[in-house]
């Protein structure tokens, strides 16, 4: 019982969902940068999420589910102008966008594997 609900409702599962949301948001941010690339005076935006993950690492890796879940709930991706960039570089945006897309699809793959484990359990170990 504990194991099944662990798969369904774990802090890791929540974290994956948050990361997927952040992936969509990051894609939207890059799309906004590309859309505004030709607008005079526009500065590219960036989504900040990984630094928060790093800051909360010890809590997220805690064996205590409640502590880990609280840490997940506090993750709040933010959008801010890129301090180091004065104008949009299309090649850079497309490269970052591609990287983000690959990461997003890898996360989806991981989530699918999680579901496959659950399916295996439901089918009593028969594939």
């Amino acid at each position: 019982m504990g194991e099944i609900s662990g798969i369904l409702n774990s802090a890791t599962g929540e974290l994956v969902l948050r990361a997927l949301d952040a992936g969509v948001a990051r894609h939207a941010v890059h799309a906004a940068n590309v859309a505004n690339a030709s607008v005079e005076g526009y500065r590219p935006l960036r989504l900040e999420f990984e630094d928060q993950l790093a800051a909360a690492r010890s809590a997220l890796l805690s064996r205590d589910e409640a502590v880990a879940k609280r840490a997940v709930a506090q993750l709040e991706p933010r959008v801010a102008p890129d301090a180091g960039a004065k104008e949009v570089q299309l090649d850079r945006e497309v490269a970052l966008m591609t990287e983000n897309s690959v990461r997003y699809q890898a996360l989806l793959g991981a989530l699918g594997k999680n579901g496959a484990l659950l399916r295996l359990a439901i089918r009593e170990g028969r594939n």
Binding site: V24, H30, A32, S38, E76
Partner: protein, 138 residues
Amino acid sequence: MDFMTVFDLSAAGMSFERMRLEATAANLANAQTTGTDFRPLRAIAASATPDAFDLRLAAALPRPLGATIVAGNSAPRMVLDPGHPDADARGFVAYPDVSPVSEMVRLIEIGRAYEANVRALAMARSMALKALEIGSDR
């Protein structure tokens, strides 16, 4: 925040690039017309970069707003051609100050920017379709 936001943003970007293309095409088409009526056109849009904001407000991501085509204020190019019917008293003919080289460079830029918008849109589409496959049997 969902993929529809991306479609919306990229569509706004593409329509601004198309407007820039129209302005550039008009400049090239009118490059050899005489008189001072036509002045080189530019497509401009406003889009303030917001300060840091919360992801939940990210539907407010900036997009090119109020895009319009305006005429520049560069002085006409005067070419000495006394035999021309439109020549003035001193024998000069006025042409719009269109530089074919910079217009062609701008055309390339516009094409690339448009492509990048299409790329962003296509990538959002494939990510959304991939997300729909969660839990499907493979």
